[in-house]
């Protein structure tokens, strides 16, 4: 998978996580899961795990390559421009 496709996958996954985070369907659910865990808490803990997985994927398929960037950079370190501008 190339970097731009990878970034697209990560953007979609983050949007999905944001939608799933707003779990209005659990608003009235007070029944504990596994006998002790409030659903409001369990669902959101699942979102945290989902976030961990998404960011793991991001490091594999969308991580920027800085060594390449630096090689391709045209402009090198220069005097801060504001000293000239102001």
């Amino acid at each position: 998978m190339n970097k731009s496709n990878g970034k697209l996958v990560i953007i979609c996954l983050v949007i999905l996580l944001i939608i799933l985070h707003h779990d209005v369907w659990n608003w009235d659910n007070k029944e504990p899961v596994f006998g002790f865990m409030p659903m409001a808490l369990l669902w959101q803990a699942g979102i945290s795990i989902g976030a961990g997985v998404t960011w793991f994927l991001a490091t594999k398929i969308a991580w920027p390559d800085f060594s390449e960037d630096e090689e391709e950079t045209v402009v090198t370190e220069s005097t801060p421009v504001y000293e000239v501008a102001e």
Binding site: P38, S48, V81
Partner: protein, 669 residues
């Protein structure tokens, strides 16, 4: 005393670590401020996580879920798991790369360069330092509360007015001094090492605390069943019918007591001795004598229509009096004609320190808590609040507020101390572990804390069967109170050390960061080259840090705020500047004037709403039903875009510097 000894040993070990790390210090200001860019993936993860998880995560989340229920996790923890790592990924790595390339140490250096404006530093410096102060305040305040609560009864006769424990002002002072010492000795390297050690300590001890407490409460299922039975609203985000019915009943009874006390105090009613005796005989509820004293005659007066003569105005005044609130000179126009609701009542300012009356009321019961029959002064005040003030209305969560809470964690993009931590990374790859593990670590810390807070709403003491934490209990003290009540002195000492570890692992980075900003962005920037030696710069940084810590310490002596509420205000301020950092990295058209507009828009909107919320005294403050941060971000973004589009864009040199074209494209053209 055992707890005090353990906390002291822990603080000494921490000082030892600071001294050890000073041996690795290379003597340069770069090493002092950025550890010479030598921090690897594990230490970067631990120091970033330790820095973001402050008193807010342990003390604040437990107290807030005690008040608002299990939904608190969704408000900030799960959203932070998504947003924090997003910021590390989208901003952190890029800023690290620019920082390495152009030698930045602080955010302001980057903004000055990117915006071609020297003066942006003048406006950003006070705003960033001003926002770090409430962040510091959270830690300083919470450390005082934790140590005081955990050491109650440690002394035989000293500090009686602090329940024979270390006074919060002294505890906060000691914590500030310890953190100052190890930051001064070790600089950024010492801070990163201490953060790593302390993060490991608080995560392990936090999990141990959780299992010990759940065991004491009869196991995980029993602890949750107690909540389902007594406070089901805390298990979800809407109001439970059972809680609503109970509240209506309790509020009605409370109104009767308020009317009765008002009528008696204002000579509108006097019960004869015979009526009083009859009232006591008829009152069957098994209440302690101090409660029965006014509940019984109030019920009798209501039953026999003796309160019917009270006017609406009298009834409204009666509720204000009973709830220790101050009548206003300009009441609502319908104050005399309409009975005010509980919500209206809450708008009146409560008399400061009204619960001190509890100390007089229960003076015979107050004593050294090492004697189990005696009450602490905190308990006396708590019982006074729970028995005199109106019962808390069950509260659900607004889906709109829940949604707009998502903007709060954007603050990490603008935390100056995180910027500095990002720059310590050895390579861009060092970020990978932090990006992936951060959401999981948040879950490991927050889930137990939120569960504990929820359980404490309905927990009873395993030996006495009495409520462990009464209603109206100060939320900041819920975690230490639970630890103290449900564990032995040795464990309580260890667990408190864990809580303090979390607090100090944020304070240290913030201390170091304000010193770095002052020397880099003000002193070095505005003085002639080579005017100060590295040693002198380090001394100047230290002096500024001491000044800011002293100021924060003075603020901590004033009336405390809810840690969670204060934290959200502080984070909201930083979040309102998020559009600026994002645009400066990804929007070529951002101009100097646009940046000024964003900063001014963010600053003014934050100031206005913060004062409108009573300086964080109203924990339920919102703007049109959503979190105030929503409008701060909207205002700063809109001002930035509009002003940038109508002003002259950045110079070619700056665009080439921050948005370099790939070689191939340049060659093609």
């Amino acid at each position: 005393m055992t707890q005090l000894i353990i906390i002291t040993i822990y603080l000494c070990l921490l000082l030892g670590l600071g001294l050890f790390s000073s041996k690795l210090f290379r003597g340069t200001s770069k090493d002092y401020m950025l550890a010479s860019h030598s921090i690897g993936p594990f230490m970067l993860l631990m120091s970033l996580f330790g820095t973001t998880m402050t008193a807010f995560a342990l003390v604040g989340s437990t107290g807030e879920s005690f008040k608002e229920g299990a939904g608190v996790y969704g408000l900030l923890a799960s959203s932070s798991g998504i947003i924090h790592s997003l910021c590390f990924f989208v901003l952190g790595v890029k800023l690290w790369s620019l920082g390495r390339k152009y030698g930045y140490t602080t955010q302001i250096q980057f903004f000055r360069d990117r915006l071609e404006s020297d003066r942006i530093g003048i406006i950003l410096f006070p705003i960033l330092v001003g926002l770090v102060i409430p962040y510091l305040l959270i830690g300083v305040m919470a450390s005082g509360t934790v140590i005081n609560s955990i050491t109650e009864g440690a002394f035989e006769s000293t500090f009686a007015e602090y329940d024979y424990g270390i006074p919060p002002w002294l505890a906060s002072l000691v914590i500030c001094i310890v953190v100052l010492i190890y930051v001064f000795f070790g600089g950024m390297r010492g801070t990163a090492m201490a953060n790593t050690a302390q993060t490991i300590v608080f995560m392990i001890l936090g999990l141990i605390t959780f299992f010990i407490i759940s065991n004491k409460l009869g196991g995980l299922e029993q602890a949750t069943n107690n909540v389902l039975e007594k406070n089901p609203t805390k298990m979800k985000r809407s109001i439970d019918e059972q809680d609503l019915e109970k509240y209506k009943l309790d509020y009605g009874k409370w109104q009767t007591v308020a009317y009765y006390n008002y009528a008696v105090n204002h000579d509108q009613l006097t019960l004869s001795a015979e009526q009083k005796k009859q009232a006591m005989d008829e009152f069957k509820a098994p209440l302690p004598p101090f409660l029965k004293k006014d509940r019984a005659p109030a019920a009798f007066a209501k039953k026999n229509g003796l309160l019917d003569g009270l006017s609406i105005r009298d009834r409204n005044l009666a509720m204000l009096e009973q709830d220790d609130r101050m009548p206003s000179d300009d009441h609502e126009s319908n104050f005399d004609s309409e009975l005010m609701s509980h919500e209206d009542l809450a708008h009146y300012k409560r008399k400061s320190g009204a619960d001190i009356t509890g100390l007089t009321m229960f003076k015979d019961k107050i004593g050294n808590p090492s004697d189990p029959t005696k009450w602490t002064r905190k308990k006396a005040k708590g019982v006074y609040r729970a028995s005199k003030w109106a019962p808390d209305a069950p509260r659900g969560m607004s889906p709109w507020k829940f949604l707009t809470y998502f903007f709060v964690p954007l603050s990490v993009g603008m935390f100056p101390h995180l910027f500095q931590h990002w720059l310590t990374a050895k390579s861009a790859d060092s970020f990978k572990l932090a990006v992936v593990a951060h959401p999981i670590f948040i879950m490991l810390v927050w889930v137990p804390c939120v569960l504990l807070g929820v359980w404490m709403t309905s927990a009873v003491h395993p030996d006495t069967g009495a409520a462990l934490i009464p209603p109206h209990f100060p939320p900041n003290a819920v975690l230490p109170a639970a630890v103290k009540a449900l564990t032995g002195p040795f464990m309580a000492g260890l667990l408190s050390a864990g809580i303090l570890a979390a607090i100090m692992s944020s304070l240290d980075s913030q201390f170091l960061c304000v010193g770095t900003m002052f020397t880099t962005d003000i002193v070095t920037h505005y003085s002639k080259k080579e005017r100060f030696t590295d040693q002198q710069l380090i001394m100047i940084a230290r002096a500024f840090i001491v000044g800011i810590v002293a100021l924060t310490y003075i603020f901590s002596l004033f009336e405390p705020r809810r840690v969670f509420t204060l934290g959200v205000w502080c984070f909201s301020g930083f979040s309102s500047l998020f559009p600026l950092v994002l645009a400066s990295l990804y929007w070529r058209r951002l101009t100097k004037a646009g940046a000024y507009a964003a900063v001014i828009g963010a600053g003014l909107s934050w100031l206005y709403m913060f004062q409108d919320s009573g300086f964080a005294s109203n924990p339920h403050y919102d703007v049109l039903g959503v979190m105030p941060v929503t409008f701060m971000i909207l205002i700063s973004t809109a001002s930035m875009i509009v002003v940038s589009l109508v002003t002259k864009g950045p110079s070619e040199a700056t665009l080439n510097k921050f948005f370099p074209q790939p070689k191939a494209r340049v060659e093609d053209s």
